[in-house]
């Protein structure tokens, strides 16, 4: 290696993230991320190779250990493998999919994960997300692609008061500021 290995940088490193009892934001650990696209045969093969089930339709994300597959569209999934090396994981999946047409694209650095938590987390998200985030309509484990005001996000509910949000890195500071603003003085419930 010609140079010392360089360190990973975050678009949020200069921001103070809210960390109160009512509302907190935290960046999720580094992960390998892929957008996977393909038909039913590819979905099945990819589920096996990835280790977590790619859901066939909108609903709960497929999750196993530190891997998750979120349904984004009829032939589109977001794969998140926390702590994994994207090059080797990508190669493993490709090797299992030689016979099924598909597209596997590394987006590990395209976006970051944000953990949004606290009693006003859902309310703050509802400032920019038009979906119904009530537990009865958006249960724990549910994941979808949606928007937060002027940013596109993927939203994945991790608990009654905790959400994992995936957002493109250049939109992340805007999302953090907008969520913090929406959480300020937000009514609970």
């Amino acid at each position: 290696m010609p140079d010392a290995a360089v360190a990973l940088r975050s678009p949020l490193e200069r921001l103070a993230l809210p960390a109160g009892d009512r509302f907190a934001l935290a960046e999720t650990p580094p992960a390998a991320r892929f957008v996977f696209r393909g038909g039913e045969a590819a979905r099945a093969a990819c589920s096996a190779a990835f280790g977590a089930e790619l859901p066939a339709r909108l609903g709960l994300g497929g999750e196993r250990e530190r891997r998750a597959a979120l349904w984004l569209g009829p032939d589109e999934w977001l794969l998140i493998a926390e702590g994994a090396d994207s090059a080797s994981l990508g190669a493993e999946i490709e090797a299992a999919l030689v016979s099924a047409p598909h597209s596997l694209v590394d987006v590990s650095h395209r976006q970051i994960g944000l953990l949004v938590s606290g009693p006003v987390a859902a309310r703050a998200l509802s400032a920019g997300c038009p979906l119904d985030l009530h537990l009865s309509a958006f249960p724990v484990g549910m994941a979808t692609r949606t928007i937060f005001d002027k940013a596109e996000i993927a939203l994945w509910r991790r608990g009654a008061t905790a959400f994992h949000v995936e957002v493109w890195r250049s939109f992340a500071p805007y999302l953090v500021a907008a969520l913090a603003e929406a959480a300020r003085g937000a009514p609970e419930g």
Binding site: V6, D75, S103, H109, C129, D149, R169, G185
Partner: protein, 1001 residues
């Protein structure tokens, strides 16, 4: 001043918390719980405003959102000024500063009141008739110079605030199963029923306290309990339910498609002071599965001469001021009515010690329980009444009226209470596109067939009377819950005692007012429309009620005709000898009451107005003092000035250094799309004008994308990474458009292709290294690649490693120099950039910004989509038609390339322009003409698209689109400018290194 009109009672008040406030600079006292209106009345203030057009003295006429007169400005400290607030809805707080409007120099003496004398000249439609001419000094001179400025000065009521609003506003989306609008008896009964089903219920009410008419209900009993007790228990029951949300101070102001309802929630001043985190207002965008409208009804004024004098008030408003706020509106009252409800007001006022001189009923008979009770209480009642005169200018002093028995008489009084009956509040129902029907018996418009999933209950549905309202509310709540998929509870009976129904009402104006050109009998208080104005509109040919409305402006003020519409309609119907349904209603438009700009803007101001996108290298540039420019949402480094360096000097240095040694440029913002699948090449072949099937993996091609019309839409380098994988780049601003365009074709036209698109714009940081020393700069950092010219020629791509991280290294150039673009995962963008920077510094290189990039590409004649193109420029116009895959059967835009106007010979073509004086830099957008002083309106030959001072060439250069430009090389043309024409010669658009030897070095 003492609160001379304050009496016992006042359910809203907290008498333990006195507050002080000022109105027009005079200090007054009140209590927490008062509205500004109730506190002013308690202090005996009757004159509160001046009318819009005639500047007539006006007083408080209502106790709610329908208030047309008492519009005030309220200041809450620096920057916190709101004009045109209804005093009836302004919650009183300590230190409130309110001021009247539309008066000068003072409320009591107002110069504008001269308009009242000039009234015969400024009747309905006077704008249309008066301000037409004459055209002494040119077309519309009088209008533009005299009339419009004068009208502008006089127009409007309150003054707009001039300082930035320091308050916060937020907005939320929300959802519920059952949305109940209005927390009066019908709304609360609906909420109790729907709440019991387990549905998610939201109940909102415009007032600080829920309860509606129950708040002033002193005599009735519900289910064996006093109404106030029942109300308190009902609210307590609702508050214990986790599935029910009560939202006071929340106005539903709009009802849109698919049960999308807009709510504006106000936060009270004490709450705001207690918690600085709270916003001033919250805008709720509510999607409701089912809606129950329980918006009640609004009492109608009667139409008689001078019915706008301060002290003339709606009868039920007087009753509400008494019971809710402990305020008697006068000492001696006369009641004039066509509805039983006013009797009840008279009875209650008499009980509170007000001397009720007479109830004058316009109807032929006054029978039924309420008139009976009034007579029994010793109040004089006369029927067949006709109002003739109201004396007193700044407040009522006496009325002259005729009635049976007793005939004509004059009665001294300081309050004149009126009731013309009740108008159901059908605004939201109408906004929901539901159809209104006219009820002949009740003489009201009420909801007919629903267009959305909603139902109305109570007075807004013309179901008057407490017992019936509760029953209908209960039914509506159950119906809504079951329609939303919940098991509704059993019907709940509500036994009501002591609340006999009040009937009656009239529409329009009495006969002796009709046709009277002298009577100022107001129909619309806020816009100063009288009976005679409506009649004039009909006389002058306005037939449609929509035309009558616009001609007279009745119902067009901020109160949206809440008090006036039905009376105006009835008068127009009589004048046209038509029935009311034949004339029809005007459209109800949102908002129901005015909504602040703050509520709509929400947090979208300052840094949150739009996302600000920054690249991973942004902070590095900022730390070095770079100037930035906005490109779409991106901030891009524009140039890197050294201390004391001007922009021009910095750009010149950056260009010079890059051409002589090496330059470093952040190209991260370029759009990137990964096109993957067995049919990837076939897809690009169809989407781009170029051929891609034969492009070998490891090679790049300059891709040109056409619109269906055959014009250049976007461009970018396309790299083939593998047989089934392409790395497509787009312009910075074009990325989303290109992806959507591709996806559109893929999903609708090319469904046979197995190929998928993924945006990778932000996956990669792109570090462009350009210049003769580019290769030696990056070489020490690279591994796994042979950088030699033969192994890695211009327009190639390789996977390699840089600083130990994977890179997609491209050899491409937008400067005309030997160049590379190092694509690295974005999280490593800055450290890799810094590593390259260290190598670059050793070789005398520099960082350059977008301005130097623009100059260098222009020197090479490279076009920028959106600068040289405007959506009507073809590849042939730009001299880029060499790139078209001639053997391709089809591609998007191909068919258009044979259109006659696209192949016409006189099209504008891209050329270079050199000014005769090399120091003159042309203006971009300047016109190019044949002659030095072209005749006025003669078409230009073309225009300048790019223009710079070129350090490399030591002179100015420009690119231009000029008709038949390529046949004009060597010709002298002109660029006419205000300071005189500039002579230019036409040249090739490539100014530098025409053979491209530097590029391929």
């Amino acid at each position: 001043m003492t609160q001379a009109f304050r009496v016992a009672g006042g359910a809203m008040l907290d008498r333990a918390r006195p507050v002080s406030f000022t109105f027009d600079g005079v200090a007054y006292g009140g209590y927490e719980g008062d509205t500004l209106a109730s506190a002013l009345l308690a202090n005996g203030v009757r004159l509160v405003g001046r009318s819009y057009k005639y500047h007539r003295p006006r007083g408080i006429v209502s106790a709610g959102a329908e208030e047309p007169n008492a519009l005030v400005g309220v200041a809450r400290g620096p920057g916190r000024f709101t004009p045109n607030l209804r005093a009836t809805q302004v919650g009183l707080f300590d230190g409130l500063v309110a001021m009247s409007q539309n008066r000068w120099p003072s409320l009591a003496f107002d110069v504008g009141a001269v308009n009242d004398l000039a009234a015969p000249l400024i009747g309905a439609g006077f704008y249309y008739k008066t301000f037409m001419g004459p055209d002494w000094f040119g077309k519309n001179w009088a209008w533009r110079r005299v009339y419009e400025p004068a009208i502008r000065l006089a127009a409007g009521l309150g003054a707009a605030p001039s300082e930035p609003d320091p308050d916060r506003y937020v907005r939320y989306f929300d959802h519920c199963d059952v949305m109940i609008v209005g927390a009066g008896p019908a709304g609360l009964a609906a909420a109790l029923a729907a709440g019991a089903s387990g549905a998610r219920v939201v109940v909102c009410d415009e007032n600080p306290a829920p309860g509606g008419s129950l708040l002033a209900e002193t005599h009735a009993q519900i289910a064996g309990e006093r109404a106030w007790v029942w109300l308190a228990e009902a609210l307590a029951a609702l508050r214990t339910r986790p599935n029910v949300r009560l939202m006071p101070r929340t106005q539903v102001f709009g009802y849109y498609a698919q049960n999308f309802v807009a709510l504006c929630e106000g936060v009270s001043e004490p709450e705001l002071i207690a918690d600085p985190d709270l916003p001033r207002e919250r805008l709720w965008q509510m999607r409701a599965r089912e809606v129950v409208l329980a918006t009640g009804a609004i009492e109608r004024p009667l139409v008689f001469a001078d019915n706008d004098r301060p002290g003339v008030m709606l009868a039920d408003a007087a009753r509400r001021y008494l019971h809710q706020y402990g305020v008697k509106v006068g000492e001696r009252a006369v009641v004039v009515t066509a509805h039983d409800g006013a009797y009840r007001a008279a009875i209650d006022l008499k009980e509170a010690g007000v001397k009720v001189e007479l109830i004058a009923d316009l109807r032929d008979e006054a029978s039924g329980p309420w008139p009976g009770t009034a007579r029994a209480a010793g109040i004089r009642v006369a029927t067949k009444a006709a109002m003739h005169e109201v004396r007193g200018r700044r407040r009522v002093e006496a009325v002259r009226l005729a009635a049976h028995p007793g005939g004509m008489r004059t009665i001294s009084c300081d309050a004149l209470l009126m009731s013309g009956g009740w108008t159901p509040s059908v605004h939201l129902f109408s906004q929901s596109r539901g159809k209104l029907v006219f009820d002949e018996a009740l003489q009201v418009f009420k909801p007919g067939a629903s267009a959305q999933r909603e139902r109305s209950a109570g007075a807004c549905n013309a179901t008057f009377g407490l017992a019936k309202a509760l029953a209908e509310g209960d039914a509506a709540g159950r119906a809504a819950a079951s329609a939303a998929g919940f098991a509704a509870p059993d019907a709940r009976p509500y036994a009501v005692d002591g609340a006999p129904q009040a009937d009656g009402g009239m529409l329009g104006a009495p006969l002796h007012i009709l046709g009277d050109r002298h009577a100022k009998a107001f129909v619309d208080f806020q816009n100063d429309v009288c009976v005679k104005d409506v009649e004039l509109a009909v006389q002058e040919g306005m037939r449609s009620i929509e035309h009558v409305k616009r001609y007279t402006t009745t119902g067009m003020a901020t109160d949206q005709g809440k008090l006036s519409n039905m009376n105006a309609l009835a008068i127009a119907a009589v004048a046209q000898e038509k029935t009311i349904p034949e004339v029809g209603l005007t459209t109800f438009r949102p908002p129901y009451t005015p909504v602040t700009f703050g509520a709509f803007a929400g947090p979208a101001r300052g840094d949150l107005f739009d996302p600000i996108r920054r690249t991973p290298i942004h902070d590095w540039a900022a730390e070095r003092g770079a100037a930035f420019e906005d490109v779409g949402l991106w901030k891009r480094a524009w140039y890197f000035p050294k201390p004391a360096e001007s922009m021009h000097e910095a750009v010149a240095r950056e260009c010079r250094t890059t051409r002589a040694a090496v330059g470093l440029f952040d190209a991260t913002t370029l759009g990137k799309i990964e096109v993957v699948g067995p049919d990837a090449a076939a897809f690009l072949e169809r989407m781009y004008a170029n051929a891609f099937m034969k492009l070998e993996p490891g090679r790049c091609r300059y891709g040109l994308m056409l619109s269906e019309a055959g014009f250049l839409m976007d461009d970018g380098v396309i790299a083939r990474l593998a047989p089934d994988r392409f790395h497509v780049t787009t312009t910075t601003g074009g990325a989303p458009r290109v992806l959507a365009h591709m996806e559109d074709y893929l999903q609708t036209e090319f469904t046979d292709l197995k190929v998928w698109l993924t945006s990778t714009s932000e996956q990669w940081a792109v570090i462009a290294v350009q210049g003769p020393k580019a290769r030696e700069t990056i070489a020490p950092l690279m591994e796994g690649i042979d950088l030699a010219n033969a192994a890695f020629p211009h327009m190639s791509v390789r996977d390699a490693r840089v600083c130990g991280v994977p890179t997609r290294l491209m050899r491409v150039s937008f400067t005309g120099e030997l160049g590379y673009e190092i694509n690295v995962p974005a999280g490593f963008g800055r450290p890799v950039w810094e590593a390259v920077w260290r190598e670059l510094e050793k070789r005398g290189g520099c960082a350059y910004g977008t301005e130097a990039m623009h100059v260098m590409r222009a020197e090479k004649g490279y076009v920028i989509v959106g600068q040289e193109t405007d959506g009507t420029v073809t590849l042939a116009d730009l001299g880029l038609d060499w790139a078209i895959g001639k053997t391709k059967k089809d591609f998007v835009g191909k068919r258009s390339l044979s259109r006659p106007d696209i192949i016409a010979e006189n099209r504008k073509q891209l050329v270079g322009l050199l000014t005769e004086n090399p120091n003159v830099v042309l203006e971009e957008g300047a016109q190019v003409t044949e002659g030095a002083t072209p005749p006025l309106a003669a078409p230009a030959l073309g225009h300048v698209t790019s223009s710079y001072r070129s350090e490399t060439l030591g002179r100015s250069i420009a690119l231009a689109l000029v008709a038949t430009g390529r046949s004009r090389f060597g010709e002298m043309l002109h660029v006419p400018m205000p300071k005189g024409p500039i002579r230019v010669s036409v040249t090739s658009p490539i100014f530098y290194d025409k053979l491209g030897t530097r590029l391929n070095a």
